[in-house]
């Protein structure tokens, strides 16, 4: 386990914290855990802007760029505000970076990016989005035909709410990488943060693209491992379960949020009717009118409440995507294991061939054996040549097996370290999320108590 430095006791603030504030606590925890990178610099994604330009097929397109700001943490100059370095990056560049990290550190549980795109949906759909949450990441809300609808469904990537949430997600991604014991010291990552131009070239020079392509092909192929590592199999299974349960939770939560919206908004009607009624009453008028105002306030309060719930949903979503990263690591391990097994198998068969050739006995059926039976044995020179070739191959094979073994061992070791790190991070973060959810509920209850107490006072004056 990399030496992270300071302790990480959960920062459980007082119950008056909003979830966005507790999100900051999360970030502070990451910074406190402090990799050497984070000790050196502050990182943030401060802004987002629209740009237009020509894309790869020479067509005009509009896209969003995000401003990455870095600032050296100079303990010496506490008073002054050190110079800010900044550069603009598009989402696609973040994707490139992540792919590079995936390939270069296959054993690492690489932090996920925020949603790629939002699923477009009909406004009158009455069931939750049915798309596979693995590939299409969606904040899908169950829209009703009633006039009370809370749709957090951004119809396109240009929607300001969506852009804002993505900005936060991208910042989170950078901080996660920067606080990763291994990933944070990657040179390309550093360049991504500091070099606007030339970053891509340097990255491509590492030749990761070729590795990426071959890896991708291999990973997508189906293969069976003879001796699956139980731990990794369990981890993969866990990843599956986590993904499934978080998706379910997000769906259920979204539907409940929509319904809650309806409940609050209908109370607004009380406000209207009380106001109208107060017009025809003499003594009751004042009480009714002011009670009506409180009902309006109650109805309006749900917007903030649901806005805060969105933060909570985002925290869950990050781990939904993390689950995928976890599964990817397990899959890569399988691949490594498979390649080792293939190498071993290859070596074994070559050794067997040598034995047969040396002793002249044909233990296993082989076409060679048959043909040699039919067409006569080879000459001793031919046999000698073949033996020599086999010897070389066997030597190479043994080297390869040794390599692959080492690779496998190395992978298992590093991966398991990172998985443990991830587990701890996940337990900590999700517990924080649950706590912030509770804080949110408490805040909602307190607001409710206040409104209804106020309303009660007004009713008493009726």
């Amino acid at each position: 386990m990399a030496d992270s430095g300071s302790e990480a006791i959960a920062v459980i603030g007082n119950t008056d914290l909003t979830p966005s504030e507790s999100e900051n606590n999360l970030k502070n925890t990451m910074v406190e855990k402090g990799t050497s990178l984070l000790k050196k610099m502050e990182i943030s994604v401060a802004e987002a802007e629209k740009r237009t330009g020509k894309n790869a097929v020479n067509m005009q397109e509009t896209y969003t760029v995000y401003l990455i700001e870095t600032r050296p943490v100079d303990a010496a100059s506490e008073g002054t505000n050190p110079a800010l370095d900044s550069l603009w990056r598009r989402y696609s560049e973040f994707e490139l970076l992540r792919n590079y990290l995936l390939v270069t550190y296959p054993f690492a549980v690489v932090p996920p990016l925020p949603e790629k795109r939002v699923c477009k949906q009909d406004a009158l759909v009455t069931t939750a989005c049915k798309c596979d949450l693995n590939s299409c990441t969606v904040t899908s809300y169950f829209l009703q035909q009633a006039e009370f609808v809370w749709h957090k469904l951004s119809a396109d990537n240009m929607d300001p709410d969506f852009v804002e949430r993505r900005r936060v997600g991208l910042e989170n991604f950078l901080l996660r990488v920067a606080s990763h014991p291994v990933l944070s010291s990657d040179k390309i990552f550093y360049l991504f943060l500091t070099e606007e131009n030339g970053w891509k070239e340097t990255m491509f020079e590492t030749g990761f693209q070729a590795k990426a392509d071959s890896r991708l092909k291999a990973l997508n192929a189906t293969f069976r491992v003879k001796n699956p590592d139980k731990r990794f199999a369990e981890m993969k299974h866990y990843g599956d379960e986590l993904q499934s349960v978080i998706s379910q939770l997000l769906r259920v939560r979204a539907r409940a949020a929509d319904r809650l919206y309806g409940v609050y908004k209908v109370h607004g009607n009380y406000g209207r009717v009380f106001s109208e009624w107060s017009a025809i009453e003499k003594e009751m008028g004042d009480g009714l009118q002011s009670a009506g105002h409180h009902m309006d306030a109650y109805a309006a309060s749900v917007d903030d409440i649901l806005e805060e719930e969105e933060h909570y949903a985002d925290q869950l979503k990050e781990y939904l995507f993390y689950a995928d990263a976890l599964r990817t690591v397990c899959r890569k391990h399988e691949l490594t294991q498979y390649e080792l097994e293939m190498a071993v198998q290859d070596l074994t068969s070559k050794k067997q061939q040598r034995e047969e050739l040396a002793t002249g006995t044909i233990r296993t059926f082989s076409l060679k054996g048959m043909t040699s039976k039919l067409f006569g044995q080879e000459t001793p020179e031919q046999r000698e040549a073949k033996l020599k070739m086999l010897e070389t191959q066997i030597e190479e094979g043994e080297e390869q097996v040794k390599e692959r073994n080492a690779e496998c061992d190395e992978f298992v070791k590093s991966a398991w370290v990172d998985i443990e790190r991830f587990k701890e991070q996940k337990d900590h973060d999700l517990r924080e999320s649950l706590i912030s959810y509770a804080i949110m509920q408490i805040s909602m209850c307190k607001k409710g108590i206040q409104v209804w107490n106020n309303a009660k006072e007004c009713f008493n004056k009726m």
Binding site: E7, A8, I9, A10, I12, T15, F148, Y238, E241, L242, V245, I246, Q248, L249, V252, R253, R255, A256, D258, R259, L260, G262, V263, V266, H267, N269, Y270, V273, E276, W277, I280, E283, M284, G287, A291, K426, D427, L430, R431, L434, I435, Y437, A438, I439, Q441, I442, C445, K446, G448, I449, W452, N453, A455, K456, F459, N460, M462
Partner: protein, 463 residues
């Protein structure tokens, strides 16, 4: 039917009613029979003198007698409705409710009574009160059965809601200065079932009521010419009030619906957290905890929905029916006025006829014919006119009585309405506060458990 022992006022059938004129705060005890004579359309009871005598004091002073100060201390009768039971006979199945009365009133034979009544009996009582006092406001009864909600007659919730409404109904009657001294009310509270049945059969019955309705409809067509401003204002208010209260009823019902749907979704959250906890180790405990909290909040939400349905909605609904009652009362008052106006017109016409006739005749016939047939005719006319005048006087008195009764009861009703709706809304607000307080406690206990855990874990984690 007579012989009700009523203190300090009318003795049976007798004319001299010693109705005190200075009675602010005192309840007016009227012999039930006199009421019937005054207000029923049954013209066989024409003891005009008795009527007149009991109306010796001007209707204006009646206003004083209807005024009352709601003093809880002076409440001398307590009525409860409870203990529904189902009865099965060969013909039908029905529910009876126990009606218990505790009173210190001397006109009651004892101080405690317990009887069983069914919904029909309540209907009968309401009808009698409305008949006897067409321009007083009788609190509505719960409806016969709810078609909308497809509620079965013998469903537990339905019976309980109805029981509460019947309880409120009887208490409203008991608190009403006029109604509470009604003989029918007393019999309702005290008579054994058999007695009640036989009492029900007497007096103006169903057909008479039908007749009234028909006449009322006919009269309504006639229209009122000089409706006093205050009653026009009353009508406008009732129209507006009716709309508002109907809206409130609808809004509340919508809230209940939305809450129920919210509850349906929320019910799935807890189990999802619980399911998640099964795949986790460190997180298992907080997740299970959260699942428990969500489930507890579900229960509280369920109860809150029930509260709205059980407490606020029935009261709003009653006032929707009240609005209809008010409209009917105003109509009846209008009819009484229309009746008076019609009679006034008829008398004027008759008088005019008499005058013209007498002029013409005296000129024409004086010389030609003997006076006899003429005189007879004149005499007949005189008689007719006197009858019409008496009728008119009665109608006038009836109108004044009705107007004053309505005015007083209107003031009383507004006070009661204000109290009822205020307490219903205050109650609702309190329940909402309590709901949020309970949920708050649930989540705070979760936070507390996590805090203590964190402190514990922190000590372990620290390396």
């Amino acid at each position: 039917m007579s012989g009700s022992v009523v203190d300090n006022t009318v003795s049976s059938g007798n004319s001299s009613a010693a109705i005190p004129t200075d009675v602010s705060g005192q309840i007016l005890d009227l012999d039930e029979d006199d009421d019937l004579e005054v207000f029923s359309k049954d013209t066989t009871l024409t003891d005009g003198s008795s009527f007149n005598a009991s109306m010796q004091t001007s209707p204006a002073s009646m206003i004083n007698q209807y005024k009352f100060e709601e003093d809880a201390d002076t409440k001398d009768i307590f009525v409860t409705v409870d203990n529904p039971e189902s009865h099965v006979t060969a013909i039908e199945t029905y529910i009876t409710y126990r009606v218990m009365t505790k009173t210190t009133r001397s006109e009651f034979d004892s101080s405690e009574f317990e009887v069983r009544r069914r919904y029909q009996d309540f209907l009968w009582l309401k009808g009698r009160l409305e008949e006897a006092h067409p321009t007083l406001i009788v609190h509505p009864l719960p409806e016969k059965f709810v078609v909308k909600g497809m509620v079965e007659r013998f469903n537990e919730d339905f019976i309980e809601t109805r029981r509460r409404a019947l309880h409120r109904f009887l208490n409203k009657i008991a608190e009403h200065p006029i109604f509470s001294s009604s003989e029918d009310f007393k019999i309702f509270l005290t008579a054994a079932s058999g007695e009640l049945t036989s009492h029900k059969k007497q007096g103006p019955g169903f057909l008479s009521r039908m007749g009234d309705t028909v006449k009322a409809v006919a009269a309504a067509v006639r229209g009122v010419r000089n409706r006093p401003q205050e009653f026009t204002e009353m009508q406008e208010y009732v129209e507006a009030f009716s709309q508002k209260i109907i809206s409130l009823d609808k809004v509340t019902q919508r809230i209940v619906r939305e809450q129920k749907e919210y509850l349906e979704e929320l019910k799935e959250c807890g189990p999802t957290y619980a399911l998640w906890s099964q795949s986790e180790e460190e997180l298992a405990e907080p997740l299970k905890n959260v699942a428990g909290c969500v489930d507890r909040c579900c229960k509280e939400t369920e109860e809150q929905v029930k509260n709205l349905s059980d407490h606020l909605i029935p009261v709003l609904h009653e006032y929707v029916l009240c609005a209809d009652t008010l409209k009917a009362v105003l109509r009846r008052r209008d009819n009484i006025q229309a009746d008076f106006e019609a009679k006034t017109e008829a008398l004027a016409t008759k008088k005019a006829n008499r005058d013209t006739e007498s002029k013409v005749l005296s000129l024409a016939w004086a010389s030609l014919v003997g006076r006899s047939p003429e005189e007879v005719k004149q005499q007949k006319l005189k008689g007719e006119i006197k009858e019409m005048r008496d009728d008119l006087d009665k109608a006038e008195d009836r109108l004044e009585w009705a107007n004053n009764a309505l005015k007083s009861d209107w003031t009383r009703w507004q006070k009661v309405m204000r109290t009822d709706l205020r307490s219903a809304f205050v109650d609702t607000a309190e329940r909402n506060v309590s709901y949020y307080e309970k949920c708050l406690a649930v989540w705070e206990s979760f936070l507390h458990s996590q805090r203590t855990d964190a402190e514990g874990n922190g000590k372990v984690d620290f390396s």
